[in-house]
């Protein structure tokens, strides 16, 4: 059975490119348009990995990570941040919030799939 990835980004073009890449690699992809939407979808259906943007309306990436880590079913699920933000300060905040890794946009499809395979197979 295909592993499920929750892909969260307010940019339709990024969601499209992430979906194209991950579906092509055999994963099932649930899309969410912001942190609030992601939280609702994460509660409704268990994902094996979460890939989230940082700067989003309503609930941003770091707040989403904190909320997910507070849910027992997402305590051990890998959460990757995919963002334009590249500062060490933001990365430190992400790590403190419970992120598993930090990827700076734009992503290379093969590299993204390699990282995800390392984390969830």
């Amino acid at each position: 059975m295909a592993k499920t990835i929750l892909a969260v980004d307010d940019s339709a073009s990024i969601r499209r490119m992430v979906g194209f890449t991950l579906k092509g690699a055999g994963y099932e992809v649930i899309e969410a348009v912001d942190g609030q939407d992601a939280l609702e979808k994460a509660r409704a259906r268990q994902a094996n990995l979460v890939l989230t943007d940082q700067n989003m309306p309503r609930v941003d990436g770091l707040s989403l990570i904190r909320s997910l880590r507070a849910l027992p079913q997402y305590r051990a699920v890998p959460i990757l941040v995919l963002t334009t933000e590249a500062s060490d300060e933001m990365k430190a905040q992400g790590r403190a919030a419970g992120a598993t890794g930090w990827l700076v946009k734009p992503f290379d499809p093969k590299r993204l799939v390699d990282v995800i395979r390392r984390l969830i197979g």
């Binding site: 940019s11 499209r16 734009p106 990282v115």
Partner: protein, 172 residues
Amino acid sequence: MGEGTKQESAAARSLLDAYAEICGRETRGVRGDLAQLDGLLADAAARLAASFERLSALASRCCTDAYIEPRPAANDAPQDAPAPAAARPASDEAASAFSEAVTALQFQDIASQLVGHAAARLEALERIASELARLGDASPEALSRTLAAAHGDLRASPVGQRRLSEGAVELF
């Protein structure tokens, strides 16, 4: 306050009012231009992505058995030039090209964040001009505090990228 000082103060206030009005009008205009640019970029990205997906589906059907021959060496190439690479399956070549396209097609999100940041900076400038006009009679210290507070509202740009090459990956 002497009559001369009052007149100077009124003149300064009038100038600040005029500046705030011009600043507001112009920044609103530029913000409108930026919003239009953002919309155009989103539309272009959506169309490119749709074409990209169609081409990808076509390529996966067409390239399966085809091979791409390496480009022949130029006539003036030296005799001891390295031998050309062997022919690569077209599917490999297509996969590599599509991979590069996926990276490049992320331009809209990055550009849109820069546009949004530029608009926020303009909005802050407009706010500063408006505050200065409102505080026209205030002391230099009060004006200075207002400027410092307004400047403090400006967040650093969320985008550091200058090219669309792959970003860094770090696992914690």
